[in-house]
Amino acid sequence: MRTILKITAILYDDLVRTLREPHDFAAERVAFLKCRPALSAMSLLLLAGGVHHVEDGDYVDDPSAGATIGRSALRKALQTAYAEAVSMVHVHLHEHRGRPGFSRTDLRENALFVPDFWNVQPGLPHGAVVFSFDSSVGQCWIPGSTIPACMEVAIVGSPMRCTWKAARD
Protein backbone atom coordinates (compact mmCIF):
# COMPACT_ATOMS: atom_id res chain seq x y z
CA MET A 1 0.00 0.00 0.00
CA ARG A 2 1.36 3.42 -0.98
CA THR A 3 0.93 6.41 1.29
CA ILE A 4 0.37 9.73 -0.44
CA LEU A 5 0.01 13.23 0.97
CA LYS A 6 -2.08 15.35 -1.41
CA ILE A 7 -2.10 19.10 -1.18
CA THR A 8 -3.50 21.75 -3.51
CA ALA A 9 -1.00 24.04 -5.19
CA ILE A 10 -2.75 27.01 -3.58
CA LEU A 11 -2.23 25.65 -0.08
CA TYR A 12 1.31 24.49 -0.87
CA ASP A 13 2.39 27.86 -2.26
CA ASP A 14 0.94 29.58 0.79
CA LEU A 15 2.69 27.10 3.08
CA VAL A 16 6.08 27.57 1.42
CA ARG A 17 5.72 31.35 1.58
CA THR A 18 5.16 31.22 5.35
CA LEU A 19 7.93 28.65 5.89
CA ARG A 20 10.38 31.01 4.20
CA GLU A 21 9.53 33.99 6.39
CA PRO A 22 12.51 34.96 8.55
CA HIS A 23 12.43 34.36 12.29
CA ASP A 24 14.31 36.29 14.95
CA PHE A 25 16.57 33.37 15.81
CA ALA A 26 15.32 30.14 14.25
CA ALA A 27 17.09 29.30 10.99
CA GLU A 28 13.98 27.67 9.56
CA ARG A 29 10.27 27.47 10.30
CA VAL A 30 8.00 24.48 10.77
CA ALA A 31 4.25 24.01 10.51
CA PHE A 32 1.66 21.25 10.58
CA LEU A 33 -0.66 20.30 7.75
CA LYS A 34 -4.18 19.47 8.86
CA CYS A 35 -5.30 16.45 6.86
CA ARG A 36 -8.21 14.10 6.49
CA PRO A 37 -7.44 10.48 5.56
CA ALA A 38 -8.99 8.17 3.01
CA LEU A 39 -8.30 4.70 1.71
CA SER A 40 -8.35 3.98 -1.99
CA ALA A 41 -7.93 0.65 -3.75
CA MET A 42 -4.13 0.96 -3.70
CA SER A 43 -3.23 3.74 -1.28
CA LEU A 44 -3.66 5.51 1.99
CA LEU A 45 -4.33 9.16 1.17
CA LEU A 46 -3.75 12.11 3.48
CA LEU A 47 -5.64 15.07 2.07
CA ALA A 48 -4.39 18.40 3.32
CA GLY A 49 -7.01 21.04 3.99
CA GLY A 50 -5.26 23.65 6.11
CA VAL A 51 -2.13 24.71 7.95
CA HIS A 52 -1.54 24.90 11.68
CA HIS A 53 1.19 27.51 12.04
CA VAL A 54 3.72 27.57 14.85
CA GLU A 55 3.73 31.00 16.47
CA ASP A 56 6.97 32.99 16.61
CA GLY A 57 7.09 32.81 20.40
CA ASP A 58 6.83 29.02 20.41
CA TYR A 59 10.28 28.47 18.89
CA VAL A 60 13.17 27.67 21.23
CA ASP A 61 16.55 29.34 20.74
CA ASP A 62 18.61 26.25 20.00
CA PRO A 63 21.69 26.72 17.78
CA SER A 64 22.09 22.96 17.42
CA ALA A 65 19.05 22.65 15.13
CA GLY A 66 17.47 24.62 12.28
CA ALA A 67 14.24 24.90 14.22
CA THR A 68 13.32 23.69 17.66
CA ILE A 69 9.80 24.13 18.94
CA GLY A 70 8.79 24.18 22.56
CA ARG A 71 6.23 22.26 24.56
CA SER A 72 3.61 24.92 24.03
CA ALA A 73 3.89 24.56 20.23
CA LEU A 74 3.36 20.83 20.49
CA ARG A 75 0.50 21.27 22.95
CA LYS A 76 -1.27 23.65 20.55
CA ALA A 77 -0.77 21.24 17.65
CA LEU A 78 -2.17 18.39 19.75
CA GLN A 79 -5.12 20.58 20.66
CA THR A 80 -5.81 21.28 16.97
CA ALA A 81 -5.61 17.58 16.11
CA TYR A 82 -8.08 16.80 18.89
CA ALA A 83 -10.52 19.66 18.28
CA GLU A 84 -10.61 19.41 14.49
CA ALA A 85 -10.29 15.61 14.26
CA VAL A 86 -7.42 15.80 11.81
CA SER A 87 -4.28 13.91 10.92
CA MET A 88 -1.26 16.12 11.51
CA VAL A 89 1.76 16.23 9.24
CA HIS A 90 4.79 18.15 10.48
CA VAL A 91 6.43 20.06 7.61
CA HIS A 92 9.56 22.05 7.02
CA LEU A 93 11.49 23.23 3.98
CA HIS A 94 15.07 22.68 2.87
CA GLU A 95 15.92 25.58 0.59
CA HIS A 96 17.48 23.77 -2.35
CA ARG A 97 16.45 21.86 -5.46
CA GLY A 98 16.48 18.08 -5.76
CA ARG A 99 15.47 15.37 -3.38
CA PRO A 100 15.78 16.45 0.26
CA GLY A 101 16.53 14.18 3.18
CA PHE A 102 15.57 14.09 6.83
CA SER A 103 18.52 14.87 9.06
CA ARG A 104 19.40 12.47 11.87
CA THR A 105 17.85 14.96 14.28
CA ASP A 106 14.67 15.06 12.16
CA LEU A 107 14.40 11.27 12.15
CA ARG A 108 14.98 11.03 15.88
CA GLU A 109 12.51 13.81 16.72
CA ASN A 110 9.87 12.60 14.23
CA ALA A 111 9.90 9.20 15.89
CA LEU A 112 9.43 10.85 19.28
CA PHE A 113 6.72 13.42 18.67
CA VAL A 114 4.66 12.21 15.67
CA PRO A 115 3.27 9.16 17.52
CA ASP A 116 2.27 11.59 20.32
CA PHE A 117 -0.64 12.60 18.10
CA TRP A 118 -2.11 9.15 18.73
CA ASN A 119 -2.73 10.29 22.29
CA VAL A 120 -5.40 12.62 20.94
CA GLN A 121 -6.31 10.99 17.62
CA PRO A 122 -5.44 7.28 17.93
CA GLY A 123 -7.36 6.21 14.83
CA LEU A 124 -5.68 8.58 12.42
CA PRO A 125 -2.37 8.42 10.56
CA HIS A 126 0.11 11.23 11.27
CA GLY A 127 3.40 12.11 9.64
CA ALA A 128 6.26 14.38 8.74
CA VAL A 129 7.46 15.77 5.42
CA VAL A 130 10.47 17.77 4.38
CA PHE A 131 10.07 19.73 1.16
CA SER A 132 12.74 21.11 -1.13
CA PHE A 133 11.85 23.58 -3.87
CA ASP A 134 10.90 20.78 -6.25
CA SER A 135 10.77 17.53 -4.32
CA SER A 136 9.97 16.03 -0.95
CA VAL A 137 10.33 13.02 1.33
CA GLY A 138 7.89 11.96 3.98
CA GLN A 139 7.17 9.50 6.75
CA CYS A 140 3.77 8.36 7.91
CA TRP A 141 2.84 6.61 11.14
CA ILE A 142 -0.15 4.43 10.40
CA PRO A 143 -2.33 3.20 13.27
CA GLY A 144 -1.41 -0.34 14.12
CA SER A 145 2.20 0.00 12.99
CA THR A 146 5.15 1.32 14.96
CA ILE A 147 7.46 1.67 11.95
CA PRO A 148 6.85 4.70 9.74
CA ALA A 149 5.95 4.16 6.10
CA CYS A 150 7.39 6.25 3.27
CA MET A 151 5.00 8.98 2.20
CA GLU A 152 4.93 10.43 -1.33
CA VAL A 153 3.61 13.91 -2.00
CA ALA A 154 1.34 15.11 -4.79
CA ILE A 155 0.87 18.82 -5.29
CA VAL A 156 -2.40 19.20 -7.15
CA GLY A 157 -2.36 22.18 -9.46
CA SER A 158 -1.49 23.18 -12.96
CA PRO A 159 1.02 21.77 -13.57
CA MET A 160 0.90 18.83 -11.18
CA ARG A 161 4.09 18.81 -9.11
CA CYS A 162 6.23 16.48 -7.04
CA THR A 163 4.28 13.29 -7.58
CA TRP A 164 6.16 12.87 -10.82
CA LYS A 165 9.44 14.06 -9.39
CA ALA A 166 9.14 11.61 -6.54
CA ALA A 167 8.35 8.83 -8.99
CA ARG A 168 11.55 9.60 -10.90
CA ASP A 169 13.84 9.71 -7.89
Partner: protein, 274 residues
Amino acid sequence: MTDKLNLERQSFLGADSEIVLGRTKAALVGLGGGGSHVAQQLAHIGVGSFLPIDPDCMEDTNLNRLVGGAMEDVKLRTPKVDIAERIIKAVNPAAEVVKRQASWTEVTAELRDVDVIFACVDSISCRSELEVFARRFLIPLIDIGMDVHESSDEFSISGQVMLSLPGKPCMRCMGLVTDEALAKEAAKYGAAGGKPQVIWPNGTLASIAVGFFMRLVTPWETRKATPVLLEYDGDLQTVSPSNKLSYLPAHCKHFDSLNDLGDPFWNSDALAVA
Protein backbone atom coordinates in the same frame (compact mmCIF):
# COMPACT_ATOMS: atom_id res chain seq x y z
CA MET B 1 10.14 -3.18 -34.48
CA THR B 2 8.82 -3.53 -30.95
CA ASP B 3 5.44 -3.07 -29.29
CA LYS B 4 6.74 0.04 -27.53
CA LEU B 5 5.22 3.39 -28.56
CA ASN B 6 7.73 5.66 -30.27
CA LEU B 7 7.03 9.13 -28.88
CA GLU B 8 10.01 10.86 -30.48
CA ARG B 9 7.79 13.38 -32.30
CA GLN B 10 6.42 14.70 -29.01
CA SER B 11 9.77 14.99 -27.26
CA PHE B 12 9.22 18.78 -27.02
CA LEU B 13 6.94 17.92 -24.07
CA GLY B 14 10.04 17.35 -21.95
CA ALA B 15 12.93 14.96 -21.62
CA ASP B 16 11.02 12.84 -19.10
CA SER B 17 7.53 13.32 -20.53
CA GLU B 18 7.41 9.72 -21.70
CA ILE B 19 8.09 8.46 -18.17
CA VAL B 20 5.61 10.88 -16.64
CA LEU B 21 2.86 9.97 -19.09
CA GLY B 22 3.61 6.28 -18.67
CA ARG B 23 3.11 6.63 -14.91
CA THR B 24 -0.09 8.64 -15.21
CA LYS B 25 -3.44 7.06 -14.52
CA ALA B 26 -6.53 8.59 -16.14
CA ALA B 27 -10.13 7.73 -15.40
CA LEU B 28 -12.65 8.08 -18.21
CA VAL B 29 -16.16 8.31 -16.86
CA GLY B 30 -18.48 7.84 -19.80
CA LEU B 31 -17.26 6.25 -23.03
CA GLY B 32 -19.73 7.57 -25.53
CA GLY B 33 -19.13 10.33 -28.06
CA GLY B 34 -16.73 12.33 -25.88
CA GLY B 35 -15.02 9.65 -23.80
CA SER B 36 -14.18 7.40 -26.75
CA HIS B 37 -12.32 10.27 -28.45
CA VAL B 38 -10.42 11.02 -25.24
CA ALA B 39 -9.47 7.34 -24.76
CA GLN B 40 -8.06 7.17 -28.27
CA GLN B 41 -6.01 10.35 -27.93
CA LEU B 42 -4.61 9.42 -24.51
CA ALA B 43 -3.52 6.07 -25.90
CA HIS B 44 -1.66 7.76 -28.76
CA ILE B 45 0.00 10.22 -26.37
CA GLY B 46 1.39 7.40 -24.25
CA VAL B 47 -0.68 7.49 -21.07
CA GLY B 48 0.24 4.30 -19.24
CA SER B 49 -2.76 3.50 -17.13
CA PHE B 50 -6.50 3.75 -17.75
CA LEU B 51 -9.65 3.28 -15.72
CA PRO B 52 -12.52 3.36 -18.26
CA ILE B 53 -15.94 3.32 -16.59
CA ASP B 54 -19.32 3.00 -18.30
CA PRO B 55 -22.25 0.69 -17.54
CA ASP B 56 -23.62 0.71 -21.08
CA CYS B 57 -23.28 -1.45 -24.16
CA MET B 58 -23.01 -0.33 -27.77
CA GLU B 59 -26.35 0.42 -29.44
CA ASP B 60 -27.21 1.37 -32.99
CA THR B 61 -27.82 5.00 -31.95
CA ASN B 62 -24.17 5.23 -30.76
CA LEU B 63 -22.67 4.36 -34.12
CA ASN B 64 -22.82 7.96 -35.42
CA ARG B 65 -20.24 9.12 -32.87
CA LEU B 66 -18.60 6.44 -30.75
CA VAL B 67 -15.01 6.24 -31.94
CA GLY B 68 -13.91 2.65 -32.45
CA GLY B 69 -17.45 1.29 -32.36
CA ALA B 70 -18.44 -0.95 -35.27
CA MET B 71 -21.64 -2.46 -36.63
CA GLU B 72 -20.52 -5.79 -35.22
CA ASP B 73 -20.44 -4.22 -31.73
CA VAL B 74 -24.06 -3.16 -32.15
CA LYS B 75 -25.01 -6.72 -33.05
CA LEU B 76 -23.02 -8.16 -30.15
CA ARG B 77 -24.00 -5.39 -27.74
CA THR B 78 -20.34 -4.98 -26.83
CA PRO B 79 -19.78 -3.09 -23.57
CA LYS B 80 -18.43 0.40 -24.24
CA VAL B 81 -15.54 -0.24 -21.86
CA ASP B 82 -14.50 -3.20 -24.02
CA ILE B 83 -14.43 -0.96 -27.09
CA ALA B 84 -12.31 1.58 -25.19
CA GLU B 85 -9.91 -1.14 -24.11
CA ARG B 86 -9.69 -2.39 -27.69
CA ILE B 87 -8.83 1.08 -29.00
CA ILE B 88 -6.23 1.72 -26.30
CA LYS B 89 -4.54 -1.66 -26.60
CA ALA B 90 -4.48 -1.46 -30.39
CA VAL B 91 -2.40 1.72 -30.11
CA ASN B 92 -0.38 0.84 -27.03
CA PRO B 93 -0.39 -2.84 -26.06
CA ALA B 94 1.68 -2.01 -22.98
CA ALA B 95 -0.99 0.26 -21.49
CA GLU B 96 -2.69 -0.97 -18.34
CA VAL B 97 -6.46 -0.93 -18.73
CA VAL B 98 -8.61 -1.73 -15.74
CA LYS B 99 -12.10 -1.47 -17.22
CA ARG B 100 -15.28 -1.30 -15.18
CA GLN B 101 -18.69 -1.90 -16.74
CA ALA B 102 -20.47 -0.11 -13.94
CA SER B 103 -21.58 3.25 -12.71
CA TRP B 104 -18.68 5.29 -11.32
CA THR B 105 -20.42 5.27 -7.97
CA GLU B 106 -19.76 1.51 -7.76
CA VAL B 107 -15.99 1.82 -8.23
CA THR B 108 -15.10 4.77 -6.04
CA ALA B 109 -12.19 3.00 -4.28
CA GLU B 110 -10.42 2.62 -7.63
CA LEU B 111 -11.42 6.07 -8.79
CA ARG B 112 -9.69 7.61 -5.74
CA ASP B 113 -6.36 6.37 -7.10
CA VAL B 114 -6.32 8.17 -10.43
CA ASP B 115 -4.38 11.33 -11.29
CA VAL B 116 -7.06 12.93 -13.46
CA ILE B 117 -10.75 12.24 -14.10
CA PHE B 118 -12.38 12.96 -17.46
CA ALA B 119 -16.10 13.54 -16.98
CA CYS B 120 -17.78 12.70 -20.27
CA VAL B 121 -21.30 12.37 -18.95
CA ASP B 122 -24.66 13.66 -20.12
CA SER B 123 -26.40 15.04 -17.08
CA ILE B 124 -25.74 18.07 -14.92
CA SER B 125 -26.44 16.04 -11.79
CA CYS B 126 -23.85 13.42 -12.74
CA ARG B 127 -21.11 15.95 -13.51
CA SER B 128 -21.92 17.78 -10.28
CA GLU B 129 -21.70 14.57 -8.22
CA LEU B 130 -18.43 13.62 -9.92
CA GLU B 131 -16.97 17.01 -9.11
CA VAL B 132 -17.95 16.68 -5.45
CA PHE B 133 -16.14 13.33 -5.44
CA ALA B 134 -13.06 14.70 -7.23
CA ARG B 135 -12.80 17.63 -4.82
CA ARG B 136 -13.10 15.32 -1.82
CA PHE B 137 -10.05 13.34 -2.96
CA LEU B 138 -8.15 16.28 -4.51
CA ILE B 139 -8.30 14.98 -8.07
CA PRO B 140 -8.35 17.35 -11.05
CA LEU B 141 -11.46 16.85 -13.16
CA ILE B 142 -11.84 17.74 -16.82
CA ASP B 143 -15.45 18.04 -17.90
CA ILE B 144 -16.82 18.01 -21.43
CA GLY B 145 -20.33 19.15 -22.23
CA MET B 146 -22.09 19.49 -25.56
CA ASP B 147 -25.63 20.40 -26.48
CA VAL B 148 -27.80 20.86 -29.53
CA HIS B 149 -30.56 23.43 -28.97
CA GLU B 150 -33.60 24.07 -31.10
CA SER B 151 -34.56 27.69 -31.61
CA SER B 152 -36.71 29.40 -34.23
CA ASP B 153 -36.99 26.23 -36.29
CA GLU B 154 -33.20 25.93 -36.48
CA PHE B 155 -30.58 24.19 -34.42
CA SER B 156 -27.54 25.47 -32.60
CA ILE B 157 -24.57 23.50 -31.36
CA SER B 158 -22.67 24.62 -28.30
CA GLY B 159 -20.46 23.15 -25.62
CA GLN B 160 -17.74 23.75 -23.13
CA VAL B 161 -14.69 22.18 -21.60
CA MET B 162 -13.83 22.94 -18.01
CA LEU B 163 -10.85 22.18 -15.81
CA SER B 164 -11.97 21.81 -12.21
CA LEU B 165 -8.87 22.02 -10.04
CA PRO B 166 -9.19 21.51 -6.29
CA GLY B 167 -9.01 24.88 -4.55
CA LYS B 168 -9.87 26.76 -7.75
CA PRO B 169 -13.35 27.76 -8.96
CA CYS B 170 -15.77 24.87 -9.33
CA MET B 171 -18.73 24.22 -11.61
CA ARG B 172 -21.01 26.09 -9.24
CA CYS B 173 -18.63 29.06 -9.19
CA MET B 174 -18.79 29.05 -12.99
CA GLY B 175 -22.56 28.68 -13.20
CA LEU B 176 -22.37 25.31 -14.96
CA VAL B 177 -24.19 23.69 -12.05
CA THR B 178 -27.07 25.58 -10.46
CA ASP B 179 -29.94 24.46 -8.26
CA GLU B 180 -32.37 25.64 -10.97
CA ALA B 181 -30.65 23.57 -13.66
CA LEU B 182 -30.59 20.52 -11.39
CA ALA B 183 -34.29 20.94 -10.57
CA LYS B 184 -35.16 21.37 -14.24
CA GLU B 185 -33.21 18.27 -15.15
CA ALA B 186 -34.82 16.28 -12.35
CA ALA B 187 -38.27 17.34 -13.56
CA LYS B 188 -37.45 15.95 -17.02
CA TYR B 189 -36.06 12.70 -15.62
CA GLY B 190 -37.37 9.72 -17.56
CA ALA B 191 -38.54 11.79 -20.54
CA ALA B 192 -38.47 9.70 -23.69
CA GLY B 193 -35.81 10.16 -26.35
CA GLY B 194 -32.08 10.72 -26.27
CA LYS B 195 -30.36 14.07 -26.65
CA PRO B 196 -29.07 14.91 -30.12
CA GLN B 197 -25.33 14.17 -30.39
CA VAL B 198 -22.90 14.27 -33.30
CA ILE B 199 -19.28 13.32 -33.73
CA TRP B 200 -17.49 16.48 -34.83
CA PRO B 201 -18.28 18.75 -31.84
CA ASN B 202 -17.41 15.84 -29.55
CA GLY B 203 -14.07 15.52 -31.31
CA THR B 204 -13.32 19.22 -30.93
CA LEU B 205 -14.24 19.24 -27.24
CA ALA B 206 -12.36 16.01 -26.53
CA SER B 207 -9.20 17.41 -28.16
CA ILE B 208 -9.41 20.52 -25.98
CA ALA B 209 -9.89 18.32 -22.91
CA VAL B 210 -6.76 16.37 -23.80
CA GLY B 211 -4.95 19.70 -24.21
CA PHE B 212 -6.00 20.62 -20.64
CA PHE B 213 -4.72 17.26 -19.45
CA MET B 214 -1.34 17.69 -21.15
CA ARG B 215 -0.89 21.10 -19.57
CA LEU B 216 -1.49 19.51 -16.18
CA VAL B 217 0.84 16.59 -16.65
CA THR B 218 3.61 17.63 -19.03
CA PRO B 219 3.16 21.32 -19.86
CA TRP B 220 5.01 22.38 -23.01
CA GLU B 221 5.05 26.00 -21.84
CA THR B 222 4.30 27.62 -18.51
CA ARG B 223 4.26 31.36 -19.23
CA LYS B 224 0.62 31.63 -20.25
CA ALA B 225 -2.20 31.00 -17.80
CA THR B 226 -4.65 28.57 -19.31
CA PRO B 227 -8.30 29.63 -19.15
CA VAL B 228 -10.09 26.94 -17.18
CA LEU B 229 -13.37 27.30 -19.04
CA LEU B 230 -13.47 27.30 -22.82
CA GLU B 231 -16.73 27.68 -24.70
CA TYR B 232 -17.45 26.15 -28.05
CA ASP B 233 -19.76 27.77 -30.56
CA GLY B 234 -20.51 24.93 -32.92
CA ASP B 235 -22.33 27.17 -35.39
CA LEU B 236 -19.39 29.56 -35.83
CA GLN B 237 -16.88 26.75 -35.25
CA THR B 238 -15.02 28.80 -32.66
CA VAL B 239 -13.60 28.12 -29.21
CA SER B 240 -13.00 31.01 -26.81
CA PRO B 241 -12.34 31.63 -23.12
CA SER B 242 -15.64 32.07 -21.29
CA ASN B 243 -16.71 35.58 -20.30
CA LYS B 244 -17.53 34.10 -16.90
CA LEU B 245 -13.81 33.87 -16.17
CA SER B 246 -13.54 37.61 -15.56
CA TYR B 247 -16.09 37.41 -12.71
CA LEU B 248 -14.73 34.33 -10.98
CA PRO B 249 -13.40 34.35 -7.43
CA ALA B 250 -9.74 33.34 -7.09
CA HIS B 251 -10.68 30.51 -4.76
CA CYS B 252 -13.71 28.26 -4.56
CA LYS B 253 -16.10 28.97 -1.70
CA HIS B 254 -18.16 25.83 -2.23
CA PHE B 255 -15.45 23.33 -1.24
CA ASP B 256 -13.33 25.12 1.33
CA SER B 257 -13.89 23.12 4.49
CA LEU B 258 -11.86 20.29 5.97
CA ASN B 259 -15.14 18.41 6.11
CA ASP B 260 -15.20 18.38 2.30
CA LEU B 261 -12.06 16.22 2.30
CA GLY B 262 -11.32 12.56 2.81
CA ASP B 263 -13.38 9.58 3.75
CA PRO B 264 -16.43 10.74 5.71
CA PHE B 265 -16.73 7.24 7.17
CA TRP B 266 -13.07 6.81 8.05
CA ASN B 267 -12.44 3.77 10.17
CA SER B 268 -8.89 2.84 11.08
CA ASP B 269 -9.91 -0.84 11.27
CA ALA B 270 -10.00 -0.77 7.46
CA LEU B 271 -6.25 -0.16 7.51
CA ALA B 272 -5.67 -3.61 8.90
CA VAL B 273 -7.58 -5.12 5.99
CA ALA B 274 -5.69 -2.92 3.51
